[in-house]
Structure formats: structure tokens, C-alpha cells
């Protein structure tokens, strides 16, 4: 039999959204017709999302990428002998040599887009499981020490030192403890969690398992947002493999220590990304925020000590254990150590996943990686850190991606999402939307958030339609102060961040007589 050529067609949700299934089907048909022996592997995405579906062919000199491929390109690809890496207008060369990717520092995403997501052998061949192997040689305090040495801070948004929570859960005495992965990824402009769960789910499973060993928890839950049906399927498939291969179960890798993981679906509530609301939801209740203390590390799921971390936090753990915490801490700046999976999105030419050490400037990301806007118009604003993050103007673009540097500019890094807007954006509308989003997603427990957000929408409507704009803008400012000071959680507490950053950084959009963006829109 002739040699079988391996062809990689991503099953990442973003690739599917651009037609990857049609491309895979078409490749099958054309290969069959032409008698070519091929095997299609549905991998994750490498994160060059403007090139999806990016098809890779395994050739004698390594993998050669083509993209973005449409089903209608497939015949011509075969005609150009792409199974041998032939020339074609969509040929991108070796993916790892594409500068956009070559410039990155991929630790967490080292395997995503390369391996078959459900092959544990592939996973091991590319460095997977080395962290768990290492962890099994350490005692629980020894694992926590590595996490401490890494300087890892929670990637879910708040940037809290991971090791403190790990140590608190470890030391808590209880008959049962839990490890909970926050996979609610609700922030607009973010998709790193999704990409990893779809493209390299074993990394998350390995990270959570190490957390189980470190804390003494025996049960893990992944709380996944329902908007990610592909990730749900991928995680469940990977969990079956992990159980069958003895990674999970009554005796993790024959260590005698039990640990297993179950995936649970959220139900379309942004607030369930907040950890206490998430725990309520996992318990089967409305996702209403709990007052802290008690902290979840001591009294979490069903009242038991619970470690809650973001997907990216757990996914950093295998690398940290296998290379040592110190090696991880060698990346980054100040108190932001290691790498940040940056998600560049919105109105941008080259969007995708960019994993880099902390410290690169927002400008470098938007201009060098992003290549400017997708529309070709000038960049006017970037919202960093999701719907509760600030809108930055060009003059703040030199801010380095670092938790403290962003806080100093009244912004936040959050989960590392960057949404780019061109000069048609109307920041008054964006400020109104921030209130609208808060009103729609508030859990309703406290008044400043529940009532404040709705009042914010009404008041912004008046500003926008020019009804006593000065007076009403004053009201918006007062409202923001009350929400900042009086809200129980960061939903109400941070909604003023996008609102005030829009007002302070783009005052010209709030002067209803001469809104430049309105003039542009009317061109």
C-alpha cells in the first residue's frame, strides 16, 4: 500500500465557523476520487485564526500549511500536488516558521494545533504527562512549593497568587475536597480556554490532576459554559481516554491516590464565572453570588474546601512541574511572571492566540501581531480584559501587559482578551452597553448593581440623545462611584471601569453636539 499522507484539518470552533468541516469532507471526496491515500487528523488550532481553516500536510520536510482554505479550493490544492507540499497561492510554508507564530513563547499552548487532541501517546510524545510524572515523585507541600516558585497568578482575571489557594485547600481538614475548574470564559474577546479544551484537553486534565494530588481533593469538576458545545464534546472524549489509560480513576497512574473529573454545563449566565456564583450553580441553585468570607478554599462546593482556578491557571501547571517553578518565573516582568495567552480579537487584521511573556506592550500586540484593523481604518480604541475592562486610546497603547501596569492606568488585564475598534466606534454607545450588559447579567443580590446598571442605561440614553448631557453625565459619574463602592462583587464593582474609561479617555464622544464618530458614520 502506498504511503498514507496525514492531513490536519482543525476542529477548533473558530475553524468550524469558517467552514472546516466542509473542507475536511471535500478533501476526503477528492482524495478518494484521485486514489490518494490520506488520513485526516482533526487537530486543534495553532491560533492563527485569520488563516482558519488552516490545513497542514505532513511531507518529507515536515508539515506544510495552507490557508485559509475553502472547500472550493480543495480541487486546485490537489492539482497543485499539495500532498507533497506543492506551490499554491494559499501555501504558507512551515507553520512554525510563520513569524506571527515563531515570535511567540508557547509554554501552555506548546502542543495545541500540533497533536491529535485525543491521542495520549501524541500528548506524551510532545512533552505531556511529564508534569504529572514529576508531581508523583513529590509530596503535597513539594508540589505547592513549585507552584509558589513559579509566581503563577490566577489567569481568570483577578491575578491572585495561585499557590496561596493551593496551600489553603491543602491544609484544610475535611472528609472531602474539590478541585473546580472555571471554564465559564464569559469575557468578550477571549477564547484561550476554549482553544485549549478543544485542541489539547489533556493539559487541563493533567493540571487538575496535579492539583488534586497537591490539595488532597479526590473529585474535580469542570464548569463549562454552554456556549462551547465543541469543548464539551472534546473534554468528555479526553476524559474517557484518561480514565481508560489510568490517568484518572481510583489510582492515578497506579499511585494509589484517587482522582476523577466530571464536566458540568453552565446555562448562559455570565455571573456564573464569578467563583461563588459558579459554586452555587454547580450545587444546582440559582447563580447568586455568596458573600465572602468564608472563602471557597475553606468552605466551597457543598461546604467543603474547594480549589477554584481558571482553565489557563491549571493548564500552566504541567509545564511548571516538568520544567520547575523557577524556569517559569524566568519569563515575565515585575510581579507578573510566566506567560500570558493573549487573545487578539475584534476589528483586527490578524487575530488569534498569542502566548508571550508578560511585559510586551499593547501597541506591539495590536500593530505588529494584529497588523492594524480588519476594516483598514485607523485603530481608535482597544478594550482589554473583557466587558469589565477599560477602553484604552492610542496614547495608552504603550502600557505593558502586566497586572500592575494596567491597574496604574485604571484598566485591567483580566483574562488577556484585547478587542480592537476602528474609528467608527462610538464610545458613548460602548459605555451604554457596559451598563446594559451589567443589567442583563447581574445576579440581583445587591442594589447598587441591580438598580444602578438599569439607571445607568437610562441616564446614558439621555446623554446620547442630548438631554441635559452635562447634568446627566454627572449622574453617570455618581452612579459609577456608588457601584464601585457598594457592590458585593466585581460585576457591579467593575462595570464603572469601561464606562469611566470611555468618558475619561474619549471625552469627545460624550459631547453630543460634535461626535466625530457620528460624523464618520454619516459619511
Amino acid at each position: 500500500m502506498a504511503d498514507v499522507t496525514k492531513i490536519y484539518v482543525p476542529r477548533d470552533m473558530a475553524a468550524l465557523a469558517m467552514g472546516a468541516d466542509d473542507v475536511a469532507a471535500k478533501i476526503e471526496t477528492v482524495a478518494e476520487k484521485s486514489g490518494a491515500a490520506i488520513e485526516i487528523v482533526r487537530n486543534g488550532s495553532r491560533g492563527l485564526l485569520w488563516l482558519e481553516p488552516m490545513v497542514e500536510v505532513e511531507t518529507g520536510e515536515g508539515r506544510i500549511a495552507y490557508g485559509p482554505v475553502a472547500a472550493s479550493d480543495v480541487e486546485s490544492l490537489f492539482a497543485s500536488d499539495f500532498l507533497k507540499g506543492g506551490a499554491h497561492k494559499l501555501r504558507l510554508g512551515k507553520p512554525e516558521e510563520i513569524p506571527w507564530l515563531a515570535k511567540q513563547q508557547r509554554l501552555t499552548f506548546a502542543r495545541c494545533g500540533i497533536i491529535d487532541p485525543f491521542s495520549l501517546d501524541d500528548y506524551r510524545a510532545y512533552g505531556g504527562m511529564a508534569g504529572l510524572d514529576k508531581a508523583l515523585t513529590l509530596d503535597a507541600p513539594g508540589i505547592v512549593d513549585e507552584v509558589k516558585a513559579s509566581g503563577l497568578r490566577g489567569r481568570g482575571g483577578a491575578g491572585f497568587p495561585a499557590w496561596i489557594k493551593w496551600d489553603t485547600v491543602r491544609k484544610a481538614e475535611a472528609d472531602r475536597k474539590y478541585v473546580v475548574c472555571n471554564a465559564d470564559e464569559g469575557d468578550s474577546g477571549t477564547f484561550a480556554d476554549r482553544m485549549l479544551m478543544e485542541g489539547d484537553p489533556f493539559t487541563l486534565i493533567e493540571g487538575m490532576t496535579i492539583a488534586g494530588l497537591a490539595t488532597g481533593a479526590t473529585k474535580g469538576y469542570i464548569y463549562l459554559r454552554s456556549e462551547y458545545p465543541q469543548a464539551f464534546e472534546a473534554l468528555n472524549r479526553a476524559l474517557v481516554v484518561a480514565r481508560r489509560r489510568g490517568v484518572l480513576g481510583a489510582s492515578v497512574m497506579n499511585s494509589g491516590k484517587p482522582f476523577d473529573i466530571e464536566v458540568r454545563l453552565g446555562a448562559g449566565a455570565y455571573i456564573c464565572g464569578e467563583e461563588t456564583s459558579l459554586l452555587e450553580s454547580l450545587e444546582g441553585k440559582r447563580g447568586v453570588v455568596r458573600a465572602k468570607p468564608p472563602i471557597p478554599a475553606l468552605k466551597g462546593l457543598f461546604g467543603k474546601p474547594t480549589l477554584v482556578n481558571n482553565v489557563m491557571s491549571f493548564a500552566a501547571i504541567p509545564w511548571i512541574l516538568s520544567h520547575g517553578g523557577k524556569a517559569y518565573a524566568d519569563y515575565g516582568m515585575g510581579r507578573s511572571l510566566g506567560t500570558l495567552p493573549i487573545q487578539l480579537a475584534g476589528n483586527v487584521k490578524r487575530g488569534g492566540l498569542i502566548e508571550l511573556a508578560f511585559g510586551i506592550s499593547l501597541r506591539e500586540v495590536i500593530e505588529e501581531f494584529g497588523g492594524g484593523t480588519w476594516s483598514g481604518r485607523p485603530v481608535r480604541a482597544a478594550q482589554v480584559g473583557g466587558p469589565l475592562g477599560a477602553y484604552f486610546p492610542d496614547k495608552l497603547f504603550d502600557t505593558p501587559l502586566d497586572y500592575e501596569a494596567f491597574a496604574a492606568k485604571k484598566g485591567l488585564l483580566g483574562h488577556g482578551g484585547i478587542v480592537v475598534f476602528d474609528d467608527t466606534v462610538d464610545l458613548a454607545k460602548q459605555a451604554r452597553f457596559a451598563f446594559e450588559f451589567c443589567a442583563a447579567e447581574s445576579c440581583g443580590k445587591c442594589t447598587p448593581c441591580r438598580i444602578g446598571a438599569t439607571r445607568g442605561v437610562e441616564t446614558m440614553d439621555r446623554v446620547i440623545s442630548g438631554v441635559q448631557p452635562e447634568k446627566n453625565l454627572g449622574l453617570v459619574r455618581d452612579l459609577c462611584e456608588i457601584m464601585t463602592d457598594g457592590s458585593l462583587c466585581a460585576m457591579g464593582g467593575l462595570t464603572p471601569v469601561p464606562v469611566m474609561s470611555a468618558i475619561d479617555n474619549f471625552p469627545e464622544d460624550f459631547n453630543t453636539r460634535a461626535r466625530p464618530s457620528v460624523a464618520i458614520a454619516a459619511e
Binding site: 468578550s188 462551547y228 458545545p229 453552565g266 446555562a267 455570565y270 447563580g287 475584534g346
Partner: protein
């Protein structure tokens, strides 16, 4: 397009029984019901409450808290349109206005012929290829009216 079973109390009991032993079983049960029937009717509330030993108020509260759960059947096609910032930055608002005008519906409504329900979502993790949508559970990027028509098999 998704075909749902008509409401059937016996089938509902069976779904509840399959999940009742889970820790915090409410959401898994409601998801399974919605998958089977396309919505979670009020008739299911006392059944879930009894099975989980919770009050009807608690179950009702849960059902109404989460945006995903429908208490009424939806149209034959469900279109979830992303309304969040990254999609706004590439013209989602204007597209949504066009779609709503063409189908003559507002958010959460179903077209008069019972074909299409339009629901808002905030981010699908497709933020580099907006405007994004889930059409009958399938991800669609760079959505425009033409793509939507094609996906729904409508000529106008």
C-alpha cells in the same frame, strides 16, 4: 434543524431518574429536558422538585435565572447571535437590526411561521471572526444576511 419530542411526563420522569443521583442535579436535568423537548415546561417543575427534595420555588427560581432555559417551545431553527463587544466592533449591531427587520422579530421571539427563533448571546469565543452566531448549534463566523438565509434554507 432539531426535532424535539412532544412533552411526555413519563419520558420526563425517566430523564429525571437518569440524573437524580448526581451532585447538584438541577442543571443537568434541565439541560436534558431541554434537549429532549426543546424547552422546560412548567409541568416539569414540581416533578424535578419532588425528585430532588427541593421546593417548587427553588426549581422555578433556577429555571428563570438562567438565560439558556426556555419555558416555551422555540421555532424549528434557533439562531443565537453574539451581541458582545468583539462582534460589535465588526458591525454586529447593524447586522442584527437587518436580521430582525427581515424576519420581523425581536430578541427571544419566533417568526410568525414558527420557523426561526432569535436569541441574543454574549460571546461565543469566535471573537476573531465576528459577527458570530450559533445556528442550530453550529458555529458560524463572518455572518451576513446571505449566510443566514443559506443556513436556514430561506430564499428571502
Amino acid at each position: 434543524m432539531t426535532a424535539y419530542e412532544p412533552w411526555n411526563a413519563e419520558r420526563a420522569s425517566q430523564i429525571i431518574a437518569e440524573h437524580a443521583a448526581l451532585e447538584g442535579a438541577t442543571l443537568p436535568i434541565m439541560h436534558a429536558m431541554q434537549e429532549a423537548f426543546g424547552h422546560v415546561p412548567d409541568a416539569a417543575v414540581p416533578m424535578i422538585a419532588d425528585a430532588l427534595n427541593l421546593s417548587r420555588a427553588e426549581i422555578h427560581g433556577c429555571l428563570t435565572f438562567y438565560h439558556d432555559f426556555r419555558r416555551q417551545p422555540a421555532g424549528r431553527h434557533v439562531v443565537k447571535l453574539c451581541r458582545a463587544e468583539a462582534c460589535q466592533s465588526v458591525g454586529a449591531d447593524a447586522l442584527h437590526a437587518d436580521i430582525k427587520r427581515e424576519l420581523n422579530v425581536d430578541w427571544h421571539e419566533t417568526t410568525a411561521d414558527g420557523e426561526v427563533t432569535i436569541e441574543p448571546v454574549f460571546c461565543l469565543g469566535l471573537c476573531t471572526c465576528g459577527p458570530a452566531a450559533l445556528i442550530d448549534g453550529k458555529p458560524v463566523g463572518a455572518l451576513d444576511v446571505g449566510k443566514l438565509r443559506a443556513a436556514l434554507g430561506r430564499s428571502h
